[in-house]
C-alpha cells in the first residue's frame, strides 16, 4: 500500500510536469507578442524590454526558461516555497494573493459539497425505494431541472429574487468570517453554495437512485431479507453500502475539480476565489498568475484521484493495491 502511494505520488509529479510544460508553451511560446513587452508597460522602449527580459530570464533559451520555472516551483524562489513567482500586474509576490483566494474557493467548494450531499443522496434514496412514485417523478424532474440549469442563469435569477426583490439574503461579495462574524459570512455564502450545489445535487440524486435501484436487485439483498433483517437495515446497511461506494469516487473528483476554482459561480457572486482570479489574470495577461492557478487546479485534480483510489481500497475489500 505504501509503495503504491509513493508510486502514485511520483506519477502526480510527472502529470504536473506535463501540465506545466503545456501551460508554459501556451502562454509563453505560442502568443505572437513577447511576454516582456506585456510587462514593460504601454509604451516600452527597446532598453526597457531588454531589461525586463534580463530580469525575468526571458533572454535565455526556451528550455532553460522552462527549467528555471519548474525549478522555482519545486525548490522555491526568492519568496520561499513553493515558488509561485511575481505578478506582472500588481508587481508583487503572487503567493499570498493566491493562498488567500484559494481559501475562499475552499470555503465555497466544501460548503457546496456538504449541501449537495445532504440534498442529493437522501432524494436519491427515497426515489430508489419508491421508483415511479409521485415523489420519484417529482425528484427526477427536479434533477433534470438541476442538471440543465446553467449557473450563469440561476445565479442572477436568485440574486434578483432573494436579494433585490425579497431582500431575504444579502447580495454578492465575500465577507470573511474572522472579520465580519459567522452570520454575515454565512448569509453571503448561502446563494453561492446553493447555486453551485444544485447541479451536483441533481446529478448525485440521479446517481444514488440508479445505484441503489441496481443494488436492491442484487442477490445479496435477497439474502439479507431472507435472514430476517428489518427492511431498514437491509437498505441502510446492505444496500447503501454498495450503492454509495462509487459516489465517494465521484465526490473526490468533483471536489478536486472545484478546488481549482468555480469560475462562473465566483464571477456571478463576486467571490474573490481562484477561478475568478484565473479569469482576471487571463484578461490582464498576468502570465505567472495563470500558470500558478493552472498548476494548483491540476494538482488538486491529480491528488484527488490518488486520494479516491486509496480510499476505495478501504471501502471495497476486493480492491487491493500492490
Amino acid at each position: 500500500m505504501v509503495r503504491y502511494i509513493i508510486r502514485r505520488l511520483l506519477w502526480v509529479m510527472v502529470t504536473l510536469l506535463v501540465i506545466t510544460l503545456l501551460t508554459y508553451l501556451i502562454f509563453f511560446v505560442m502568443p505572437p507578442t513577447d511576454p516582456a513587452i506585456n510587462f514593460a508597460g504601454k509604451q516600452p522602449t527597446e532598453e526597457l524590454v531588454a531589461e525586463v527580459k534580463r530580469q525575468f530570464g526571458l533572454d535565455k533559451p526556451l528550455l532553460v526558461q522552462y527549467g528555471l520555472f519548474v525549478k522555482r516551483i519545486f525548490l522555491g524562489d526568492e519568496y520561499g516555497w513553493p515558488g509561485l513567482g511575481f505578478s506582472f500586474s500588481t508587481r508583487s509576490e503572487l503567493k499570498p494573493v493566491i493562498f488567500e483566494r484559494l481559501l475562499i474557493t475552499v470555503q465555497l467548494a466544501l460548503g457546496a459539497a456538504i449541501l449537495w450531499l445532504l440534498v442529493g443522496i437522501p432524494i436519491g434514496i427515497l426515489s430508489a425505494l419508491r421508483p415511479r412514485s409521485i415523489f420519484d417523478r417529482f425528484a427526477m424532474g427536479f434533477a433534470l431541472f438541476g442538471v440543465s440549469t446553467p449557473v450563469f442563469f440561476l445565479g442572477p435569477v436568485m440574486l434578483y429574487i432573494f436579494w433585490f426583490q425579497l431582500g431575504w439574503l444579502p447580495g454578492s461579495g465575500f465577507y470573511p468570517i474572522g472579520q465580519y462574524g459567522f452570520w454575515e459570512w454565512f448569509s453571503h455564502m448561502i446563494m453561492p453554495w446553493t447555486v453551485l450545489a444544485l447541479a451536483f445535487a441533481a446529478f448525485y440524486a440521479r446517481m444514488t437512485r440508479g445505484n441503489l435501484i441496481e443494488t436492491m436487485g442484487e442477490d445479496y439483498i435477497r439474502t439479507a431479507r431472507a435472514k430476517g433483517l428489518s427492511e431498514r437495515r437491509v437498505v441502510l446497511k446492505h444496500g447503501l453500502r454498495s450503492a454509495l461506494t462509487p459516489i465517494v469516487t465521484i465526490l473526490g473528483l468533483d471536489l478536486g475539480a472545484l478546488l481549482g476554482g468555480a469560475i462562473i459561480t465566483e464571477t456571478v457572486f463576486n467571490l474573490q476565489g481562484l477561478g475568478n482570479y484565473a479569469i482576471q489574470s487571463v484578461f490582464s495577461g498576468d502570465l505567472y498568475a495563470i500558470l500558478d492557478v493552472t498548476i494548483i487546479a491540476a494538482f488538486f485534480i491529480t491528488f484527488a484521484n490518488l486520494v479516491v483510489d486509496v480510499v476505495y481500497a478501504f471501502l471495497d475489500p476486493r480492491v487491493r493495491y500492490t
Partner: protein, 336 residues
C-alpha cells in the same frame, strides 16, 4: 399421521406486467412433513422458485397478486403482519440460493454476515454472534473456521461460499430449509459434497428440507418426496421412487430422458424435451404441456387435467389412460 410442518393450499402468485398477467404459480397445493426432504423439479419458469419465495415472504402483495394459504405450524404466513413474518424468515424458515458467488455481500466479512443473521433474532453480543458463526462454519465443514470467518466472500471458493450460506441458514436452527438450486452454479464434485452436507445437517438439525432443482438426477437420491412442476402447476407428485421408477406424466418422462448416465454405456444421444417452456401470460389451453407432448390427443388441447391420485401419495395430472401410460413408459422410456 403427524401434522405437516408446511401446508400450502391452492397457492396462486400472479405478477401484473405491462404485457399482461404472468401466472407464475397457478394453484399449487403440497405439504412438507417434519424431517422430510422434498424435491421440487421443473424447468426455468415453472414457478418452483416463485412458490417458495412466496412462502418465505420475499414475494409480497406489493409485487404480485397472491391467493391461497401457506400454513406453517398452524399459522397462515400470508395473513400475518410483515414484522411477524420477519421473525419467521431466517429463524423458522431459512433459504439458500442458486448462486453463492453473488448471494453474500461483497463488502462484509463472512463471519459478521452470519453473525448478523443470528443477531437479527437473538439478543446476543456481536462477539457471541461471531463465535457462533465460527462454530457454524466448522459444522458445515469449513477448515480453519476462525480464520475464514474473518475473510471476505471473494476469498472463498464457490463451494465454500455455499457452505457459508448453509451455515448462515442453519445458524438459528430453523424448522425448514429451502434450498433454491443449491448446486446449479457449482462444479459436479462440489455438488455432491453440498448435497451430502445438506443430508447430514438435516439429521443433525432435525429440519425439513426443500430442494428446488431442474436436475432430477441430482436430487432423486436425496429426497423422500418429489414434485414436478410445469407452467405454474404441479403435474406429478409422489415418493422419489414413484417419480423415478414409475413416472406417469410425459413431462417427467422427458426430464428423466435428459439425465446423463455415466454408469451405462452411452447408446444414444440425450433426449431433450422439444420446444420451450410456455409463456406464462398466454398459457396454452387444456394441459399446458400439450404443445410439447408427443402423446397429446384432442382432450389435452381442451381440458385442464387435474392432479389425480395414482396410488398412495403418487398423483399425476395427465389425460392419458393408465394402461397407455404404463405401456409407453415401459416401451419407450424405461427401455432406453
Amino acid at each position: 399421521m403427524p401434522e405437516p410442518l408446511l401446508q400450502v393450499n391452492d397457492l396462486k402468485v400472479h405478477f401484473p406486467t405491462d404485457d399482461g398477467l404472468v401466472k407464475a404459480v397457478d394453484g399449487v397445493s403440497f405439504q412438507v412433513m417434519p424431517g422430510e426432504t422434498l424435491g421440487v423439479v421443473g424447468e426455468s419458469g415453472s414457478g418452483k422458485s416463485v412458490s417458495f419465495l412466496t412462502v418465505m415472504g420475499l414475494i409480497t402483495t406489493k409485487q404480485a397478486i397472491i391467493e391461497g394459504e401457506v400454513i406453517f405450524k398452524g399459522q397462515d404466513l400470508l395473513q400475518i403482519p410483515q414484522e411477524e413474518m420477519r421473525h419467521v424468515r431466517g429463524e423458522k424458515i431459512s433459504m439458500i440460493f442458486q448462486d453463492p458467488m453473488t448471494s453474500l455481500h461483497p463488502f462484509y466479512k463472512v463471519g459478521s454476515q452470519i453473525g448478523e443473521a443470528i443477531r437479527a433474532h437473538q439478543k446476543v453480543s456481536k462477539k457471541e454472534a461471531f463465535d457462533q458463526a465460527v462454530e457454524m462454519l466448522q459444522r458445515v465443514g469449513i477448515p480453519k473456521p476462525e480464520e475464514r470467518a474473518n475473510q471476505y466472500p471473494h476469498e472463498f471458493s464457490g463451494g465454500m461460499r455455499q457452505r457459508a450460506m448453509i451455515a448462515m441458514a442453519l445458524s438459528l436452527n430453523p424448522d425448514l430449509l429451502i434450498a433454491d438450486e443449491p448446486t446449479t452454479a457449482l462444479d459436479v464434485t462440489v455438488q455432491a459434497q453440498i448435497l451430502d452436507l445438506i443430508d447430514r445437517l438435516r439429521e443433525e438439525f432435525n429440519a425439513s428440507i426443500v430442494i428446488i432443482t431442474h436436475d432430477l438426477g441430482v436430487v432423486a437420491e436425496h429426497c423422500d418426496h418429489l414434485q414436478v412442476m410445469y407452467a405454474g402447476k404441479i403435474v406429478e407428485t409422489g415418493t422419489a421412487d414413484d417419480i423415478y421408477y414409475h413416472p406417469h406424466h410425459p413431462y417427467a418422462w422427458g426430464l428423466l430422458g435428459s439425465i446423463t448416465r455415466l454408469d451405462e454405456e452411452q447408446r444414444e444421444r440425450l433426449r431433450p424435451i422439444k420446444g420451450l417452456p410456455p409463456s406464462l401470460i398466454f398459457v396454452p389451453p387444456g394441459c399446458a404441456f400439450h404443445p410439447r407432448c408427443p402423446y397429446a390427443f384432442d382432450k389435452c388441447r381442451v381440458d385442464v387435467p387435474e392432479l389425480l391420485p395414482v396410488d398412495g401419495q403418487h398423483a399425476a395430472a395427465c389425460h392419458l389412460p393408465l394402461a397407455d401410460k404404463q405401456r409407453i413408459f415401459a416401451e419407450e422410456v424405461a427401455a432406453r
